[in-house]
Amino acid sequence: MARTGLFGSSLVKKYWMALTGLFLISFLVVHATVNAMIFFNDGGVTFNEAAHFMGTNPLIRAMEFVLFAGLILHIVDGLILWSQNRAARPVKYAMEKGSANRSWYSASMGILGTLLLLFLMLHLWHFWVKSRITGLREIEGMPGHDNLYIEMVEVFAHPVPVVLYVLGCFSLFWHLLHGFQSAFQSVGINHKRYTPIIKMVGAGFSIVISALFASMPVSMYLGWIK
């Protein structure tokens, strides 16, 4: 299998993985910020306004394509890496003591990514498909303004989606915990002084972003947000 050229070599694939990963991380920040508007607990007024802005601003709509492209590249690249890595060890060890030399999650990025993808499909089905394709209910008295908030309230009134969403966030946490710092390593940033900081920031980010996302369905289900 020839794996050369700008898109083919193992390292270039890693650069793409890192860059798309960092890009998706930036998306998570925006997404979490917008969603966090629900915590104003104003019946979704601020949130819906933000959602309306995100859904109508042409620049952001354009970015949505870039986002999907990045996501697909991340996924496809990941699948190629995964299949090549599997092919690199055709005969498995009879006994392998991974705990001796690695964290389980760093070696499980493929599985965590797959779980995230499943979660993402569910998530898109719940909100994006309705918002962009099949259409949402409008906010009373505000024509052209979708009521995404009420959609959330309804979805998260049931325990099953809440549990699935929390599990999704849990996968996200582990995926980010390795992915964040690994992206820096992949593009060649590793320094005795700064790498520990990157790792700390990465761990902090993974906790905060996952906890923040997970708290939304939980808060709604428990009625903390009305």
Binding site: S9, L81, Q84, S106, S182, Q185, S186, V187, G188
Partner: protein, 252 residues
């Protein structure tokens, strides 16, 4: 002779095309002063006396520097213990009655020759692709002190250069990647002024060869660094990533 008894489970494979399987070998009279390989010597001695085929495994210097020995013991490259090769592993790390799994390095790029011996020629080919400084070996040279090298750079280059090419990095990487090996050489030579003129060519050529050999891709898991008998750091992989990125971007 000592009095430890062990139950070994050892990979037996008659040749490259044989399927191979784990086989049980009880051994007794193991002394805790023995090295792991000496314990295998005792077992082989027994096997030969019975007229059977002894277990093939690579070994040579038995002092941790030649890089020949390459056993995957109880789920770890070079067995338990950090910063040592298989030949430096001693039986006092095990207890009487222990069961010990012994397997060869497992990698598509390191086909098994027989039992526990594998073919690591892929490493030589990576080296031949660019792991050198293109300097004539019999010409007129500049004085060794003509170009001062900062001590830190020389020390770091040395740290990378201690690689013994054993393949533990590949064996312990869940992805079967050879990045630590390749990075160690690229890193050593890119840190030294003598290696700088051809650093781009070197990074591109060595990675290309590494990929051709069928190794997996690095995903910064770090198992290689932990199992490396010479404690070579992931920093060197980052340096290779950097070198290769610069070379790829500026390539004409």
């Amino acid at each position: 002779m000592g009095n430890m008894k062990l139950n070994l489970k050892i990979w037996r494979q008659a040749g490259p095309n044989d399927k191979g399987q784990m086989k049980d070998y009880p051994v007794s009279n193991v002394s805790e002063d023995m090295s792991f390989l000496e314990m295998l010597d005792v077992l082989n001695d027994d096997i030969v006396r019975k007229g059977e085929d002894p277990i093939a495994f690579d070994h040579d210097c038995r002092e941790g520097i030649c890089g020949s020995c390459s056993l995957f013991i109880n789920g770890e490259a070079h067995g338990p213990g950090k910063g040592i090769t298989t030949c430096q592993l001693h039986m006092r790390r095990f207890k009487d009655g222990d069961t010990i799994h012994v397997e060869p390095w497992r990698s598509a790029a390191f086909p098994v020759i027989k039992d526990l011996a594998t073919n690591r020629g892929a490493f030589d080919r990576i080296q031949a692709a660019g792991g050198f400084v293109s300097v004539n070996t019999s010409g007129n040279l500049v004085d060794g002190n003509a170009v001062p090298i900062p001590k830190d750079d020389a020390d770091k280059a040395f740290d990378a250069a201690t690689c013994i090419g054993c393949g533990a990095c590949v064996a312990s990487c869940p992805n079967g990647s050879a990045m630590l090996f390749t990075a160690a050489k690229v890193s050593q030579l890119s840190l030294l002024p003598q290696g700088k003129p051809e650093r781009k060519r070197r990074a591109l050529a060595m990675v290309e060869q590494m990929d051709k050999e069928g190794f997996g891709n690095c995903s910064a898991i770090g198992a290689c660094e932990v199992e490396c008998p010479k404690n070579i750091s992931l920093e060197h992989i980052a340096r290779l990533n950097r070198e290769y990125l610069a070379a790829t971007v500026t390539k004409e």
